[in-house]
Symmetry: D3
Subunit: 224 residues, 6 copies
Amino acid sequence: MANIVVQNIERTDLKLVDALGKCGVATVHEAQGRTGLMASHMTPIYAGARVAGNAVTISAAPGDNWMVHVAIEQMQEGDILVLEPTSPCEDGYFGDLLATSAQARGGRGLIINAGVRDVRDLTEMNFPVWSKAVFAQGTVKNTLGSVNVPVVCAGALVNPGDVIVADDDGVCVVQRERAAEVLKKAQEREANEEDKRQKLESGILGLDMYNMRERLEKEGLKYV
Amino acid sequence: MANIVVQNIERTDLKLVDALGKCGVATVHEAQGRTGLMASHMTPIYAGARVAGNAVTISAAPGDNWMVHVAIEQMQEGDILVLEPTSPCEDGYFGDLLATSAQARGGRGLIINAGVRDVRDLTEMNFPVWSKAVFAQGTVKNTLGSVNVPVVCAGALVNPGDVIVADDDGVCVVQRERAAEVLKKAQEREANEEDKRQKLESGILGLDMYNMRERLEKEGLKYV
Amino acid sequence: MANIVVQNIERTDLKLVDALGKCGVATVHEAQGRTGLMASHMTPIYAGARVAGNAVTISAAPGDNWMVHVAIEQMQEGDILVLEPTSPCEDGYFGDLLATSAQARGGRGLIINAGVRDVRDLTEMNFPVWSKAVFAQGTVKNTLGSVNVPVVCAGALVNPGDVIVADDDGVCVVQRERAAEVLKKAQEREANEEDKRQKLESGILGLDMYNMRERLEKEGLKYV
Amino acid sequence: MANIVVQNIERTDLKLVDALGKCGVATVHEAQGRTGLMASHMTPIYAGARVAGNAVTISAAPGDNWMVHVAIEQMQEGDILVLEPTSPCEDGYFGDLLATSAQARGGRGLIINAGVRDVRDLTEMNFPVWSKAVFAQGTVKNTLGSVNVPVVCAGALVNPGDVIVADDDGVCVVQRERAAEVLKKAQEREANEEDKRQKLESGILGLDMYNMRERLEKEGLKYV
Amino acid sequence: MANIVVQNIERTDLKLVDALGKCGVATVHEAQGRTGLMASHMTPIYAGARVAGNAVTISAAPGDNWMVHVAIEQMQEGDILVLEPTSPCEDGYFGDLLATSAQARGGRGLIINAGVRDVRDLTEMNFPVWSKAVFAQGTVKNTLGSVNVPVVCAGALVNPGDVIVADDDGVCVVQRERAAEVLKKAQEREANEEDKRQKLESGILGLDMYNMRERLEKEGLKYV
Amino acid sequence: MANIVVQNIERTDLKLVDALGKCGVATVHEAQGRTGLMASHMTPIYAGARVAGNAVTISAAPGDNWMVHVAIEQMQEGDILVLEPTSPCEDGYFGDLLATSAQARGGRGLIINAGVRDVRDLTEMNFPVWSKAVFAQGTVKNTLGSVNVPVVCAGALVNPGDVIVADDDGVCVVQRERAAEVLKKAQEREANEEDKRQKLESGILGLDMYNMRERLEKEGLKYV
């Protein structure tokens, strides 16, 4: 693959991004038709983190974080770095210095299907990271990669400028072109959920609220 | 397997259940002769959770949470849901709405050898879950399973009405018929441990407290 | 292998040890030339723990914690236990009683490529543990092992008296003979990092600070 | 758990056992209502092995094969050893000497949720093994376990005298009490499959043979 | 995601496909710039299998093989099925009956990031499969998916009509649009490799053949 | 770590090496006191391979096989390459061209805690490899490492010139200094095993041959 840096990517409006972030991963994932979810091994380095932003993508060689430096120059307010190594790796590509630089450019976090280090500092800096591993192993700066090309990160296709939503439930990618539509569905879903929550809290059963009894009987469920 | 819901299961007295819960997983597991422990991948979604309850068991198809709705109707005060998929799965069978419904019926928590979502909400609701994964992936409601049948969950056999004890150390199942006996042994063990703790704190060595030196020498341990 | 306990090991001066602990795992690992890091599955039982100490090593049979009792007698102020089972195991070799005994002797923590239990108590005791698993499974005391022999723990060679540094980023071993040299380099590195951090915070890019642009161009990176 | 050896177990008639063996794992598993299948990590040490036999079960401490010797005395013509360690382990509990002894008693194979060694010899002896690992690591003979008690092996409940069916697809347990019924269903299934195979071979589609088109349309599948 | 079946996909010419198949996975992967390789857990059910074909893709619910029946109708001479479940699953979606049907339509094999069964029969039929698991676990036919939509399979993006190349080294996807170009580069690479092989066989070192010595020295490699 | 190539290493006499190879991994591992065994994930690329040789060790960056070329120049008749990446990696560092070169220098095989490719060719060349993965992913030649330094490979410490023994049971390292002693014990063990095999074949039980009955009874085993 040619080693390129795409400089002018289209981003999603930050109002949309922020509104998607408020909905959270589970709701957004449902609203998008259950697509875009990264694998469950992508876990946050500290509990309670919630973030949304525009993806600046990185394709990097295993154990080589040179392209992270290149990518940071491409970051704007509201961006999130998304790194997939070209082969499985858990090295610590990213630590507090890079986070300082990313924050200085308005960066909001990192999604990395590899390792991260300086976890204590990143936590204090309130710089959230979802990663495959926490690992102090250092990296080199010898092999080129690419920035802002499409990547498959932890099983999900990410195009630069797509919206990343991440919280305690994991990481979900919203296609830029669909962001407004997905937000609308997510917000409808949320409104709908509040009503259901109240019913369930009052003791109404899902079996009744969703009219499941007839279908269960038809399928052959036996109560003994 | 026929798809059935067993409605009238025998439960363990909640006084026994609560007392077992106070002893904790490590002690109960020892008191029961080191049986009933689930695999170590069953981890709590938040630290510090401790719970005990009567098992309401669910056997469910992969990626299908229909039977969870069925099971919640069977819950009573002090129950804990125990779900094993019929094949390995990490989908998010359970979230805040189902937890709301389970809590409304007196449910105390969930043990699931699969995934869970809405972790932030569940944490705020103080609804503890031990799971194999945190994963926002949604499920369908198309395939029957069974409720309150014996299941092997994360390697441990669970019969409906057995006592589940869960804390930061994992999850242990106590057979209903043995609950009183196990509690007795667990409490004796605890009393005994307090005495040992004080001795060890004062500097007495386990080597001496347990009289190990002679046997070590006999087995051939050499000090050099 | 003969079953032996080496009683008089050389330790590293605690001033050196404590200073290395302050530098943290990522820095020490770099300062030592990126050697000595344990595998990323060695995770702390609670966030925020930081410790450094002299290694008292244990080679133990799977599911057998007899040698832990033997090792505790060998502990001195500032020591850390390092246990590698002779084959992969995740049993709970260690709990609050053993931690009480280790603390009574001045022990600072445990590194175990296996399981640990009583996590709640250990957290309250402020006794940090890095382990492969949290697992309540009990162990026996039937098979000899060795204490204070060289072990390969989670992929890293540890000699008794080596310095163990552990924090949220994992566990790193510093060879005793190199401790002073590694500390010097680590402290230089830290001083250097502070300067870099300020530059990055002010918006200077790594690309410029490290003079990467020319080399990137020479290697063929294309901006499009 | 008390350490016991149950000497007089009821076995399944070898005619039934052999007939189940001919049906193979996939068919038997279906005929039994999709129950009894062990986890997919239980793989054969050589391709092409097929076996069925009565289960002689072993619960053994990690890294301790003492109970294998005890179990071999309990073997009869047509038996298969089924070993589950009391906690996860991959040590080589079993090699060519034990296989020689088991074969001398009419034993047909080994199912072990742990490790095996001397794979070349076992292959030459035509002694099939399904295991979690191939690992030369030796074991000790220091800790008791039990023989012919119910065990959960690789996720499946096995009672002594149950029928074990194993082939390239894995391992399935048939409850002794249901063996005749399961065999009948398995044989019906096989007859039925032959007819289907011929239709499919001739180019008839499953969509038509199983009348799926109407239901697919009703569920909303769109052809574009 | 809407549930659709795309009927008229563009395929790659079978002459190109077959020529790519002869080059093999490692060469094709290199020729394509080291892209398109599936994860290493995708292993063949028998050694020595080599195949290339046009991808007919399937997105299926976990534990539900309904869409496989739908996909087989879409198969033509020279096609290979590529199945990715919508969430991680290792159930046996596919066995000898489906293989019979696929072969009747000219199908050449299956790539499935899940499980397969009837391995012995598939081997005898000479129907190659690369899968994540061998697992007899049966599936249901209750939930829709899609056929011939883009899928991310085992980490690689696959569009319907892309070329799949698979052998003992794994599975590689060649984009349809690039097939001719990749073949050309692969064949050049092969010609080039033959020359290198002869030199190396004669004792010439890679160090000299690739002129590495100067660069190694410049980078600082020390011979001691 | 400084990047060095140690050129004059001491090797073990090939008569010793070959004799150890004949004993096989399980026997040698026992004879050496159950030390030196690599992890069970190190599996052969084809069944039936058996090899022994002197270790030429490689420490290489993840995804970078430059040092393999350097190492091959250091090989002599009877050597085996042993490669450990500096962090976990499964890339295909080695294929048929490198094998051709290694064979031209008298090399006997490769032990690599990473990936290998061209498995079909390597099999035809009769060049055995034990690896963590089969993976076509290519590597670069940008980062230095070291040759003939001590490495921890798959959990076992390997010094250059140590004897590697590998077969279907895995890989074992024999320390050069202990090779003659270990061979002697291994051969005694083999002689001893033949006698045991005949006894077991004749129907004598291990329980009697090893006089286990008394100790089992003393430990409390109950026959019921």
